[in-house]
């Protein structure tokens, strides 16, 4: 368990101000350094996080493929952030395309919105949501290589990403995931998929049928962070059995006011605008900022990996 000194100061200041939420459980800590309910400075106006040259930088995006103006604006903000924080890739937590999936849909709902990022060589590693056809696994720009579930190991830092397909958790997939995690020697194990095992969404909320087979596996094999979507807002869940769960489901869809205010799960929630998340892994720490369409940083903090 470890809280960094700089954040301790912020934590103390925020606690004094009565606006801070901090949670810790065995093996993992997440600290809300934004320390307030209101969004803070536009992300593009500053260089976010440590932004170290040798760190692993990535973004998380979910529930985005609508082709709507909101998605385009959110995508434009992602491109602006990328100018100052050059994330190498984006992991998607599903619902990559809503509605029909003809060629023009891929163009309008994905290739046009994220063209600035794609042109700069940013790769997308997708997972499937309940709105996604299995065919998407063959789409070159989603880098799934025909597989609905797969692992990905970036060249920087010692991290393994495990991408799962939670609309169809067949026994083979669970067995595969267990083997992948068991055999992993990476410092960081990060899982990402569509359905949230924990969420304070009034519309969907925590999915116990997903949690039941996956959580014991994550706990056993030291998964540190889980990224999900499905509920159309941003939420950082209080650590559960040492694991930090995020809901990042407002990349192009928004369910305004959908986070249940009385939820005991919420460490930080944001449900009044579109959002995505950037993360930076450096050694044993993962820094993160959740960023709204306006560019406001709506949550930030640092997670120490489980050991």
């Amino acid at each position: 368990m470890h809280i960094r000194g700089r954040l301790k100061v912020l934590l103390l200041a925020a606690a004094l101000a009565g606006g801070c939420i901090a949670q810790s459980t065995r093996g993992s800590v997440a600290v809300d350094a934004s320390a307030g309910q209101k969004p803070t400075t536009p992300a593009a106006a500053e260089t976010p996080m440590p932004n170290r040259p040798d760190s692993l930088k990535f973004a998380v995006l979910g529930d985005f493929g609508t082709g709507s103006r909101g998605q385009l604006q959110m995508a434009a903000e992602m491109a602006r952030v990328h100018e100052r924080f050059p994330f190498e890739f984006v992991i998607t937590v599903g619902d990559n395309l809503y509605g029909s999936e003809r060629a023009q849909d891929f163009t309008q709902k994905f290739e046009i919105p994220y063209k600035p990022l794609l042109d700069r060589g940013v790769k997308f590693y997708a997972t499937l949501g309940n709105h996604d056809s299995r065919d998407q696994t063959h789409y070159k720009l989603f880098n799934m290589e025909g597989k609905p579930y797969y692992t990905m190991k970036p060249s920087k830092q010692n991290v393994k990403f495990v991408a799962l397909e939670t609309t169809y958790l067949v026994p083979e997939q669970l067995k595969w995931a267990e083997q992948e995690l068991e055999g992993s020697r990476e410092d960081w194990k990060i899982a990402y998929f569509h359905h949230p095992p924990y969420s304070s969404g009034n519309r969907h909320g925590s999915d116990a049928t997903i949690r039941s087979p996956l959580e014991p596996m994550f706990v056993k094999h030291n998964v540190s962070v889980v990224f999900t979507g499905h509920d159309h807002f941003y939420e950082r869940v209080r650590p559960q059995q040492g694991i930090v769960y995020f809901v990042v489901g407002a990349g192009g869809q928004l369910r305004s006011g959908n986070i249940m205010r009385a939820s005991a799960l919420t460490a930080k929630g944001f449900d009044t605008d579109y959002s995505f998340l950037i993360a930076e892994i450096s050694g044993d720490e993962m820094f993160f900022n959740a960023i709204a369409r306006s560019g406001a940083v709506v949550d930030s903090g640092v997670i120490t990996r489980r050991k």
């Binding site: 849909d105 299995r134 065919d135 789409y139 359905h195």
Partner: protein, 200 residues
């Protein structure tokens, strides 16, 4: 036989008959046709279902081989063209297909019993809630018909999939409303379905 023994025997017989009626389902109740799941009859029925699935998979693969293969990394044009061409071939080669061809009547009964067990268990309500999440009930279904692009794929709980017979790679179990469908995942079409299988 002494009269006392005759009377006792009659009482025991009457009690046994009464007990039988009280415990057993009436002939017209839904439970009447539901012996224990995983009985030998169900095992045989599910084996029949699996045989039908194999036949479907063979046809599917034969037809799919007539089309250019889809690379692991390709364009939406190639994916869409392949999906619709395969759907067309399946329709042409399954013109006579009707509901119940794959979910054979005996297989359907066995699957209903499995689902009854799953949904009447302690997590049954949660499973149903997961399945019915964003799952419209009013969609029309047709054998070989396209799974509507506007209808999300239902989420299938791992615990339910673990109980159902394993499908060939080409097919998936999904729900559309209260109906369990066999979805051809490559053509995005409905291969067969069972009506009203989710408990109310």
């Amino acid at each position: 036989m002494p009269p006392i023994f005759v009377t006792l025997a009659a009482l025991v017989l009457a009690a046994a008959c009464h007990t039988g009626r009280a415990r057993g389902p009436s002939a017209d109740s839904p439970a009447a046709a539901r012996p224990e799941a995983n009985s030998a009859a169900d095992t045989e029925a599910l084996a029949g279902f699996v045989t039908q699935l194999k036949g479907y998979a063979e046809l599917h693969n034969k037809l799919e081989k007539m089309l250019p293969p889809v690379p692991n990394e390709t364009t939406p044009e190639v994916m869409d063209k392949h999906q619709r061409a395969l759907a067309q071939l399946l329709e042409q080669n399954r013109k006579q297909a009707k509901r119940g061809d794959l979910f054979t009547p005996a297989g359907e009964r066995a699957i209903r019993r499995i689902l009854d067990e799953v949904f009447s268990g302690p997590d049954g309500a949660q499973f149903k809630s997961t399945i019915m999440d964003e799952n419209p009930s009013t969609v029309k279904l047709a054998i070989n018909g396209r799974h509507s692009d506007d209808v999300p794929l239902s989420t299938m709980p791992a615990q339910l999939l673990a109980r159902l017979p394993r499908l060939p790679e080409e097919l998936e179990y999904r729900f559309i409303g209260p109906r369990l469908i066999l979805l051809d995942a490559h053509s995005h079409t409905v291969a067969d379905y069972i009506e009203n299988i989710l408990p109310q």
